[in-house]
């Protein structure tokens, strides 16, 4: 395992594979950060249930745009242009989770509950990683991590509230869970991913895809059960096992 702490100025002397993986992971993370607002801003900002909820949508988008800015700067500083990510279509996003649109409040809430939580797992990988500028962004105390925790808390609370109403409200939120749960599990990638192993070898990630996914399941399933919701079959309909 590569245990060096690499600063930006050290990069020219690093292995080309390390640089390629670093450039790739920064571009993907920037894409995910800006991909969120592109999913929900157009539909949810005008239609969120209350003015307070509308402000929460705007605040969430502002924070995600700021996260994009930070990752785009890290990428740009080492020659990776990510400006095109601001205008690419949702269908072109790196991860499937960001390729559609969110048009219901249930989906917005469950996205925060389940998908931002997957995002937290990804960001945790970078804290104490081998590329020091990236690590510093995520080490405690990290504004990004605090803001993502806020998105997760809001989504979890709203999901629980809708589930607690029962009836049609609960059925709608269960449908959203059924979709985003599987999407979230796929976001961890294939358990036998060779690239994921290379990320670990170079100290850019710590957990295997399977380990991170198992930890996520252990965290999320009890929350779903506690809300009185059904835990979907974690294998049915999955694309990346």
């Amino acid at each position: 395992m590569f245990a060096d702490r690499v600063e930006q100025n050290d990069l020219p002397g690093q292995d080309p594979e390390y640089i390629d993986l670093l450039r790739r992971v920064l571009a993907i993370q920037a894409d995910c950060e800006i991909g969120g607002p592109h999913l929900y801003v157009d539909a949810m900002l005008p239609s969120a249930p209350t003015p307070i909820d509308q402000l929460v949508v705007a605040r969430t988008a502002a924070e995600e745009i700021d996260h994009f800015r930070k990752f785009a700067r890290l990428a740009g500083d080492i020659g990776v242009d990510t400006a095109f990510l601001l205008s690419r279509s949702n269908q072109e996003r790196y991860l499937e989770a960001f390729r559609g649109l969110i048009t219901t409040w249930e989906d917005f809430a469950v996205f925060g509950f389940l998908i931002d939580r997957v995002g937290r797992y990804q960001l945790e990988e970078f804290a104490n990683c081998s590329y020091a500028p990236l690590s510093r962004l995520l080490e405690h105390p990290s504004r990004i991590m605090e803001e993502e925790a806020g998105h997760i808390d809001f989504g979890t609370t709203r999901t629980a509230e809708m589930a607690a109403r029962g009836g049609e409200a609960k059925a709608r939120v269960q449908r959203a869970v059924d979709f985003w749960y599987l999407t979230g599990l796929d976001m961890f990638g294939r358990s036998d991913s060779r690239r994921a192993e290379r990320y670990r070898l170079w100290g850019l990630k710590r957990r295997t895809n399977a380990e991170a996914r198992e930890q996520y399941l252990a965290e999320v399933n009890p929350l779903l059960l506690g809300m009185g919701l059904t835990v979907p079959d974690p294998l049915a309909g999955r694309k990346y096992l």
Binding site: P37, P51, A58, D66, L86, S87
Partner: protein, 65 residues
């Protein structure tokens, strides 16, 4: 290594987005303050947020910088 040279947009895009985020967050904060007494009083700030976000969602970076 030539490929590690900062991109031309790295600094100006960072500056532009930093200002956008600050403006958005100021509008949101003001909106929450107004909404504490009367939720509908936050309407102007919500419209401001929509206007700002519509520019960012359009993604026309060459118009910004």
């Amino acid at each position: 290594m030539e490929g590690l040279t900062p991109t031309a947009l790295a600094a100006p895009l960072d500056d532009y987005l930093r200002q956008v985020v600050q403006t958005l967050q100021a509008a949101v904060t003001q909106g929450f303050r107004h909404a504490a007494d009367n939720p509908s009083a936050a309407r102007p700030q919500i419209v401001d947020c929509q206007d700002i976000l519509s520019v960012i969602m359009a993604g026309k970076v060459t118009d910004w910088i």
